[in-house]
Symmetry: C2
Amino acid sequence: MELALKELEEKGRAAKAASKKLAFLSTEIKNKALLNVAEALIDKQSEILAANRIDYEEAKASGMSEAMLDRLMLSPSRLEAISQDVETVAALPDPVGEIFEMRTLPNGLQIGKKRVPLGVIGAIYESRPNVTIDISSLCLKSGNAVILRGGKEAINSNSALAKVAQQACLNAGVPEGAIQFIESTERALVNHMLQMKGVIDLIIPRGGPELIKLISENAAMPVITGGVGVCHTYVDKSADLGKAVAIAYNAKVQRPTVCNALDCLLVHSQVAQTYLPSIAQEWAKAGVEMHCDEQALDILKPVSSLKLVPAVDGDWGKEFLSLTAAIKMVDSLDEALEHIEKYGSGHSEAIVTEDYSTAMRFLNEVDAACVYANASTRFTDGGQFGLGAEIGISTQKFHARGPMGLKELTSYKWIIYGSGQVRP
Amino acid sequence: MELALKELEEKGRAAKAASKKLAFLSTEIKNKALLNVAEALIDKQSEILAANRIDYEEAKASGMSEAMLDRLMLSPSRLEAISQDVETVAALPDPVGEIFEMRTLPNGLQIGKKRVPLGVIGAIYESRPNVTIDISSLCLKSGNAVILRGGKEAINSNSALAKVAQQACLNAGVPEGAIQFIESTERALVNHMLQMKGVIDLIIPRGGPELIKLISENAAMPVITGGVGVCHTYVDKSADLGKAVAIAYNAKVQRPTVCNALDCLLVHSQVAQTYLPSIAQEWAKAGVEMHCDEQALDILKPVSSLKLVPAVDGDWGKEFLSLTAAIKMVDSLDEALEHIEKYGSGHSEAIVTEDYSTAMRFLNEVDAACVYANASTRFTDGGQFGLGAEIGISTQKFHARGPMGLKELTSYKWIIYGSGQVRP
């Protein structure tokens, strides 16, 4: 344990030292390094897959669920996809060095902001090994050093991936120490990491709600939290019901296991009689189980082949991450807004309506990272929003909110060009 | 104590409730409220000054220093100045509701960001009662509710000022609860406040380094720290020595008690023989005491009428906040950069040079909120930078860096106008 702590501290120092050089690394070298990583992931796939095999067999033997095993598993095609993601990051504009808000003050001082990296990012994540490469490439491109702490289940996979990335970066001229990987799986190391203020400038947790809670409550440095999405779609009395079926279907079914999927459908009572059976039948075909309030249940009971369950209190404000949706009838926009304020997680919320003022009120009044009129909440994503890559989705208001790209891994400094000015 | 805790929790709830209404309050009402406050500060000055008199006499009797007594004291002219500051805030553009980065995606979605308040700001400050009005007016203009916790020494002044502001705001139609003032001076309340995550969205500490340290180490929510400025001015071998004298003189003497004042002068050895006596004689006239390294001491010893002290280790990296400066000779730009990296606090750093590449390297490589070429560090100020008002100067990289205005008291949300789009 003491050895592991010492190793962690050393890696922290090395990352800090590297970060000072990374801040000035040319875009050319960073991109060359990223392309090297992309290539190495293919070239070294037999080593990576062998390491992954060890993790997979151990996890299987210990009784890991199929869903979790699937998250853990790498394959040639998955490595190919990870490699392509790295190429995508290489192709993005370099955020570092961007000058903005430059202007000349009346006294002749030229003043503006210059974008700079944050420094050292700590990433704490669970079983998906692709995060190792994902976070490393985004940190490298944004000029940050990174300290990676992956899950125990994927330790061999993560270690192999980190080694490949480290070597590929070194070959391109990236300063040593830019990517640090913690080999020890001691749990206490996480707590120690969270106290390394002054070394780690930002912690990014990637994993389930428990991990995120643990980290955001205990980290001494800033944390970008997010990922928990309790998303509502409200079908207004003035909705185009065709659009409302398509949007709610897409929001629930297109990828039910992610944070921007629909959890709760709110339907205005004036259109429920017509709308609910239509969406329910479509959802039923996709296997969606519906947890309905009493009024919705009354309407849907006569419809055949539906998986209906009476909603319980715990269904409101629940992130299902599966083919399950809560359904609630409301009598007004105000009731919908109140429900969302009470139960939403501040992630993504949508209204379907053809009424202009209703749409505007919803967009104004809902306090969430992403608020939609007449579109699926599934669009909440860095790629979909045109940010190129995504480091995560922030549900906090500080620093960044919603999908975060490379720019959100940076800060700025004020630069001032004078010619001898003094303050009067 | 229990009563005080209950009062704090109630004020927290009231502030949270008010913040939801404040977010949609019209610019007109906010400005009317600010002008009411400005007027009331003059109309009610006898009450305010009477309250201040109580604090002043008590502080004096308890042996408070002259400097601190001066900070605590209000007068008709000081109230006039505070009132004018509030008018200035009223005249600034409203940051809330600004739409930016709006664009149309290839799928027809119109997507952009809308500026929104942060929610509830907690302000913890020491003896200067003007902060009560200062922070309240900035929070109101930016649509945030505020919970004020002032110093014990100024409790009567702060309470009187808060009451005036609260009533003036209510008269203009600002929702009740927007400005909360904690009447109890129990120390434990601060610790409790720092744990009110979910109620208080951001803590702003205003006071000495100890207060700031206490708060940034213990707050569960984000804190905007700053205020500690260990500022260097480096006079390069290629400096215009006339500019270098004017800049170093201004940076040290114009207002020595503030964070952006010069603490340490670094002088290239090639110009030290000429430059040091010139600046030292100017500084001496203003009463500056100079803590010199050995080489600087050798040069300055023969000059008459200087207050010279051999520098000790503790002089490097020290924020003097007085007419004291450390002086160190360096043999290169690199040595200056290393010294600044080791001892600077990331606030404001300046170079004086006529060499283009040297200036560029300094601007690029120094890691501080504000980096100057050929100007005085005294310019680091929201007003001087054209931000209108200043809530503080951040020396952290997260969210905001350097002088912070109204915009830095806001977040944003993504708003998306669709026409039925679903994710493919």
